[in-house]
Amino acid sequence: MAAPLTLLLIVAVTIRAVLFRSSWAELISERVEVVSPLNAWKRVVEGLALLDLGVSPYSGDVFHETPFMIYLFHFVVDYAEIVFMVTDGITAVALYLSIQTYNKNVFRKQKYALESDRYPADCLELLRSPKEMFYIPLKVAMFYLLNPFTILSCVAKSTCGLNNAIIALFILCTLKGSALLSGILLALATYQSIYPLTLFAPALLFFLQRLYIPVNLRRSSFWFFTLQYAFIYVGSLVVITGLSFFLLGSWDFIPSVYGFIFSVPDLTPNIGLFWYFFAEMFEHFRLFFICVFQINVFFYTIPLSIKLKEHPVFLIFMQIAIISIFKSYPTVGDVALYMAFLPAWSHLYRFLRNIFLVSCVLLACSALFPVLWHLWIYAGSANSNFYYAITLLFNFGQVKSLNLISHFT
């Protein structure tokens, strides 16, 4: 399978290289659907310039990346385009390998269950054959690399690509069974943007399932492993945060990065739900609604973990989707990451009755975003309500598709 994957990588890199060299690159890097105040390349360059001058990059409230990111780009800023293309490649390969491992596990379980006659007769057509499972990892990699959302995100040099790579590597390490690496990568992902914190629960459930430890709060083995994993995770997080402190010599980055993510001061329109609400909010109620909106992102972990504890990989997918819909500054790069997983469950598509309507809605909304932006900002004939309506419809389409997919279990 190396040859088709290599071919796919070459095609993807060619498309991105062609777009980088064309005049579209500048246009794309200014689109609000593709970049947000958290991951715009313009701001990274600004932060680097401030760092070169010896001033803290967080002064001036322009730069909201973590210190690791600024030091990474300090060394590779001349090769930025190659870095982003390589990152996309890493994400695709990591997703490929993880889905391959997942499919092997699923097939093994299916074989055991078939041998012990646990499947009722009418479920037989749902069984997957090795032949069709052979192509699924390649399809997942293709869905990620050739997704227009990913290409746009890469050409805009949005650091969302790097965040996606870390999450993909985390999924790979989790599925391969290495708790140490998984904990470290999850800590890195949480350090980048806080929301991957919710992926702690599915990763934990996966390891417990893999080590045949039952999820029973009264068993000591459960607590023993949980504490181990939590220790790795929290420890890495503390070490990484401490390293960042020593890199820049101050705690400036905590209010600039995490304070910014939580308190949402910048209300530039994007494809998320926060900006319109908070543009109309009275100051009096702002704190209350910030809490409500942020709790909304984290809250779904609890019921979903309880319901989906037998299917931790599916839970990871659901969590990533929920994060990318409800986070404070979503971009299309986040959407592309969870869309890449859809081929893994392609055998269940025939049960999705409304998937056609939902995908039409998502397609139409993606096409209407630039049209209504143009009508609002340039022609002056529309206003923010139209743009927010499309944002709402887009998010509604995503939620509905999640809803449909969750009927799989």
Binding site: E125, S346, V371, A379
Partner: protein, 596 residues
């Protein structure tokens, strides 16, 4: 689900007829709304018009050479107390423009700023008159100067007034606007502006071609079908009525007998003219380029139609003075009234809420067909529920068979967009045609070549096509067309509607199982190029200057060349839309027709 399949075709036919009937019914007067001034700041003040009647005008002598005209203008404006500046610009067109007979364009804009005596210089109004050497807009320039002199003596101006005399009509306006707003979207070379006013709130463009004016025509259609706020049209109409000046729209006077057949036909003709003008996306007056910068603008053209009742220059002066005074009173940009409308007459309008359902009904046909196809595609999988079925691989080969026609169609579209202009030198070497003809004929040639292309390549690359293959392609193409037409209609409703009327019936009903020769003929007759041809003929009929077939063909060729030039010079989007998106979409359906 069975209901959907059985009723699909009848519902589609009903929707199409309903859409056409709805659209034609828009011109029927009881369905329209009366125009009314929506902006408070413009309605309540009564302006006393003293007029510029006492000031004699001086026409620009047309025999003077270019340089002399601009120096004369500079002196004339300076003597009237304005701050005068000039701007030079130059541009080489991609190929010679045969309608206006120009290729290397060099010109000078002259503009004078009347500073507001008591207000800070944050806002401005523009009154412009296009004037080229040998052109016949001398009267407008004279009127401009007379107005300048009169306005200079008044104390109530709160905004700066800029009197602009631009050369080479649209190109001069484009150069001036780009320099004013510090942008450069069309690659024109210009010298920067030495003097500026504030942000421009509104603009008026005057075209008076003769001494004797019997009626004033209001022109609203701008670039890419953008229209100014309806309040500007309402303002003009209100003043015309107050001063007793005859005013027309699309060159047609209003009629009062809406309940007769002639009255309805007249209103419908006016509306159709507006739709056709808006659909071609070019700016029909100098004002059209202002709209892109969110400046409400309209053009006023004086027409001499040899009536008995003539309007003298003094009345026109008072009309303009009234309009400018009302615009002076604006507190913010015009935004209260509609931006999207159709005008069957100057006192009646159709808003977007009324005309969009006509378009919506057409798009619903496409969506119903797509849904029907989806149901058919999903049915075989549901039928084989019992027993262990062999895992089908529909997605693998089907994606490839769909991808090939899509890629080829779009490459042909890219060729149609890029090659005519780039290959003109080669074409001129080999064939005895001028550059313009070369460009246009290359475009037509590529268009017809595209008809032959998918026919063969599909068989070469993917082998035997399956029944499912063409259904997947049709589904993709229908959704693509629906999204494309929807986005077009949001920006330029007329273009979207005109394209939908001809494209929807053929695309919704196209299958490979229909009689090939007849359907091929129908498809070609309803293709985008023929739509343009029909529009040319209908337009000529509506302006009461019907043409023969050969003249119509020449007009059609000149329309194509104008479209390409508009795109290169002013950024009109009609030509790229048709070449890069609509034509490939049509080619995909052509491919479905010849699927084997």
């Amino acid at each position: 689900r069975g209901l959907l399949t059985r009723l699909n075709t009848p519902i589609c036919i009903v929707c199409y007829l309903a859409a056409i009937v709805w659209f034609m019914g828009l011109a029927f007067e009881p369905f329209t709304l009366r125009t009314d001034m929506s902006e408070n700041a413009m309605g309540s003040t009564m302006v006393l018009l003293r007029g510029a009647s006492a000031v004699p005008r001086q026409g620009v002598r047309s025999s003077q050479k270019t340089g002399a005209v601009s120096t004369w203008l500079v002196k004339a404006m300076q003597s009237r107390g304005l701050e005068v500046f000039t701007q030079s610009f130059s541009r080489k067109l991609p190929f010679p423009d045969e309608n206006k007979e120009r290729y290397m364009v060099r010109g000078t804009n002259v503009y004078g700023i009347l500073r507001a005596p008591r207000a800070p210089r944050t806002e401005a109004l523009v009154i412009s008159a296009p004037c080229s050497p040998g052109d016949s807009n001398n009267q407008a320039v004279g009127l401009l100067l007379a107005l300048a002199q009169y306005f200079r003596n008044q104390v109530y101006w709160a905004k700066d007034i800029i009197f602009l005399v631009n050369e080479h009509d649209l190109m001069g306006t484009q150069a001036w606007l780009e320099a004013y707003h510090h942008t450069n979207i069309t690659g024109m070379e210009y010298s920067p502006l030495q003097g500026r006013g504030g942000s421009i709130q509104a603009a008026l463009s005057l075209e008076l071609s003769s001494d004797v004016i019997t009626s004033l025509d209001l022109i609203l259609d701008g670039l890419n079908g953008q229209l100014p706020n309806l309040d500007l049209a309402n303002l003009f109409y209100a003043f015309c009525q107050k001063l007793g000046v005859l005013c027309t729209i699309q060159g047609k006077l209003q009629r009062n007998d809406w309940d007769t057949a002639e009255g309805y036909t007249h209103a419908a003709q006016t509306m159709m003219l507006m739709v056709l003008k808006q659909a071609c996306g070019r700016s029909w007056g100098d004002h059209g380029l202002f709209l892109r910068y969110h400046i409400e603008a309209a053009s006023v053209r004086g027409i001499n139609s040899f009536r008995h009742y003539k309007t003298d220059a003094a009345t026109i002066g008072r009309l303009l003075e009234g309009m400018v005074r009302k615009l002076n009173n604006l507190l913010e940009r015009l935004h209260q009234s509609y931006f999207f409308y159709l005008l069957p007459s100057l006192s009646r309008f159709v808003s977007i809420g009324c005309y969009m359902p006509a378009f919506g009904l057409l798009v619903v046909i496409l969506l119903l067909r797509a849904l029907d196809l989806w149901v058919h595609l999903g049915a075989p999988a549901l039928a084989a529920v019992e027993g262990v079925t062999e895992a089908q691989q529909p997605s693998g080969p089907a994606v490839l068979t769909v991808l090939t026609p899509v890629v080829i169609s779009h490459l042909t579209g890219v060729a149609l967009y890029l090659l005519p202009v780039h290959l003109q030198e080669m074409a001129v070497e080999h064939f005895p045609v001028s550059e313009t003809e070369a460009v246009v004929l290359t475009a037509v040639a590529i268009y017809t070549t595209g008809l032959a292309l998918p026919h063969n390549t599909q068989r070469l690359l993917s082998g035997e096509g399956t029944e499912q293959g063409w259904k997947v392609l049709k589904l993709t193409a229908l959704l693509y067309l629906a999204v494309l037409l929807g986005c077009t209609a949001l920006i330029n409703f007329s273009l979207g509607f005109v394209l939908a009327v001809t494209l929807v019936p053929i695309t919704a009903s196209m299958t490979p199982h229909m009689p090939k020769a007849l359907s091929a003929l129908v498809m070609v007759l309803l293709s985008p190029a023929f739509t343009i041809l029909y529009c040319v003929f209908i337009y000529q009929e509506l302006i009461e200057a019907p043409v023969s077939v050969s003249e119509g063909w020449m007009l059609f060729l000149s329309v194509i060349s104008q479209g390409i030039l508009d795109h290169a010079l002013y950024g009109s989007l009609v030509y790229p839309l048709l070449a890069l998106f609509i034509y490939p979409c049509w080619l995909m359906f052509w491919n479905i027709l010849f699927w084997s």
